[in-house]
């Protein structure tokens, strides 16, 4: 089991406070979904977890040790777009993670090592339903298939934390439902910790075992940049293990309140 500890996290950007006073403890397997209004810092939060940006203050501890301040193989990422490599075939895209790890200079494997890696990559491609398309280039795939590929790329490295930045935001509703099923299956199988940013509140509640809402609680009209967003609701849905009714009722109420607030703010 892996545990992520976030202690008093704060992120400022050129005097503008984006996030502040964020405290959180998450253990695997937890599927955290993150919702909030546009520009409330939820994507920044994900980039901090990824190591793409550095904290201004606070600590990010994975199993007690600070997370490296740059992206690495312990954290996988699926972006909304552009995260597959156009010059590699589907198989090559998944193979890349395995090749990089075992061949520091050339980034390529040969002979038996390559055959082993191909077997492993093909198994991952089967799991996401892309085995038939393994010799195609990404430009020949639909948006949904490209996202499947991006997920397969991340999965083959077996990251402790999987970060999803609006991964299904650009997909059609039908395909999105398929992708929900896929990601839940993969999550159950791999038992990892997932953080997923989404615009879609329904999606957040369907997928997550825990919903985090981000918003600004303090506002100073004279200095709009003085305060940042924080986690306003931390709603455990507890799918798959015991849960109490009160938590669900509170969560529903919180969602409705949040929806009403979003609607009011446009």
């Amino acid at each position: 089991m892996n545990t992520l500890h976030i202690k008093n996290l704060r992120k400022e950007y050129q005097g503008q406070v984006i996030l502040e006073r964020i405290n959180l403890k998450v253990s695997s397997p937890e599927f955290c979904t993150i919702v909030g209004a546009s520009g409330c810092g939820k994507s920044t939060f994900l980039r901090l977890l990824l190591g793409q940006e550095t904290l201004s203050r606070g600590e990010l501890l994975l199993n007690g040790t600070p997370l490296p301040a740059e992206p690495g193989p312990d954290r996988g990422i699926v972006f909304q777009r552009y995260s597959v490599f156009p010059h590699l075939t589907v198989l090559g895209n998944v193979l890349l993670g395995l090749e990089l790890q075992d061949s520091p200079l050339l980034g390529r494997l040969f002979g038996a090592a390559r055959r082993r890696a191909i077997t492993q990559a093909e198994a991952t491609l089967r799991a996401v339903g892309l085995f038939e398309a393994r010799h195609k280039y990404p430009a020949m795939l639909s948006g949904g298939m490209q996202q499947r590929l991006s997920i397969a790329q991340a999965l083959v490295k077996q990251p402790k934390i999987l970060l999803l930045d609006e991964p299904f935001g650009a997909l059609d509703p039908g395909i999105r439902a398929d992708m929900h099923e896929l990601i839940l299956d993969l999550w159950r199988e791999n038992q990892m910790m997932i953080f997923m940013v989404t615009h879609d509140i329904k999606e957040a509640f369907e997928l997550g075992t825990r919903v985090l809402t981000f918003d600004k609680v303090r506002r100073d009209p004279q200095a709009p940049d003085a305060y940042g967003a924080t986690i306003t609701y931390d709603i455990p849905l507890g799918k798959g293990y015991a849960q109490n009714l009160a938590a669900i009722i509170a969560a529903r109420a919180a969602t409705e309140a949040f929806r009403a607030k979003l609607a009011a703010e446009g």
Binding site: Q52, G72, S83, K157
Partner: protein, 270 residues
């Protein structure tokens, strides 16, 4: 009747239309040439088809009486050798610079301002310096082409590296890639078709600098020959030479395009 901007020529008429200007030029030339030659049979300015043929046979098929070489081929070989060497070196420099400054912020801070300034120097203005430094031999000509062509390839490739979505570089790092592996497996392969494209676009100026250098100081080469024959008003050889250079330029462009499509099928949509 549809608007003019919505009317498309058919295949046959498009072909005829594209041939028309060429035919017109040939007709105008032949008429003018006939008129002048009727006036003065020794006129050298607009030679007849017959004297072109004679000059081409002499330049392209018969060995030179003094050197024993076939003039057109030895000139072409000399020029192409300079051009290919200089363009290859420029492409390599462009690739190294583009990747280094596009991927590594420290290189970008250190090198980009220098290249921005260097690329503003008109290369022909420092041709005398090149002649002084490197002599009148091959080196100064190749240096001129490199100085003229490399900065624009460098800057173009720098921009193309920056065009690679940042998501890809982050993704590669989450797959465990080191800086070197990101360059080797992610950036370089995606840059190669763009390099071929950049080379295609700069070939025109490479020819310009080649001919300029050959015109000023050389003992062989297509540009040298044209400027030498100018003294004798030998239009019957100069015009075929120009046509030959145009054909070479066109062929190299075509070749690079086909090569790019063959080698990088994944980049076909661009």
């Amino acid at each position: 009747m549809r608007r003019l901007l919505n009317q498309q020529p058919g295949r046959f008429s498009a072909l005829c239309l594209s041939a028309l200007p060429f035919l017109l030029i040939i007709i105008v030339y032949l008429t003018a040439s006939d008129l002048r030659l009727a006036d003065n049979p020794n006129d050298k300015l607009l030679p007849s088809l017959g004297s072109f043929k004679e000059a081409i046979v002499q330049a392209a098929l018969e060995p030179n009486r003094r050197t024993g070489e076939i003039q057109l081929w030895s000139d072409t070989a000399a020029s192409l050798q300079r051009l290919l060497l200089a363009v290859a070196i420029s492409a390599l420099l462009g690739l190294m610079f583009g990747i280094a400054t596009g991927v590594i912020p420290y290189f970008n801070a250190g090198l980009s301002p220098l290249i921005a300034v260097l690329s503003m120097i008109p290369p022909l203005a420092i041709l005398p310096i090149l002649f002084i430094l490197f002599g009148l031999g091959e080196l100064s000509k190749i240096m001129l082409i490199i100085l003229g062509v490399a900065p624009s390839i460098m800057r173009e490739l720098h921009l193309r590296v920056i065009d690679i979505p940042h998501e890809q570089l982050i993704k590669a790092q989450t797959l465990g890639a080191s800086t070197w592996q990101v360059i080797w497996r992610v950036v370089l392969p995606q840059l190669l078709p763009r390099l071929l494209n950049a080379v295609r676009l700069t070939l025109g100026s490479a020819w310009l600098f080649l001919i300029a250098a050959e015109a000023i100081a050389a003992e062989s080469g297509l540009g040298y020959r044209i400027f030498l024959l100018r003294r004798y008003l030998a239009m019957d050889t100069i015009l075929p030479y120009v046509a030959w250079i145009t054909l070479l330029a066109f062929l190299s462009d075509y070749l690079l395009r086909v090569l790019s499509r063959r080698l990088f099928p994944w980049a076909a949509k661009t």
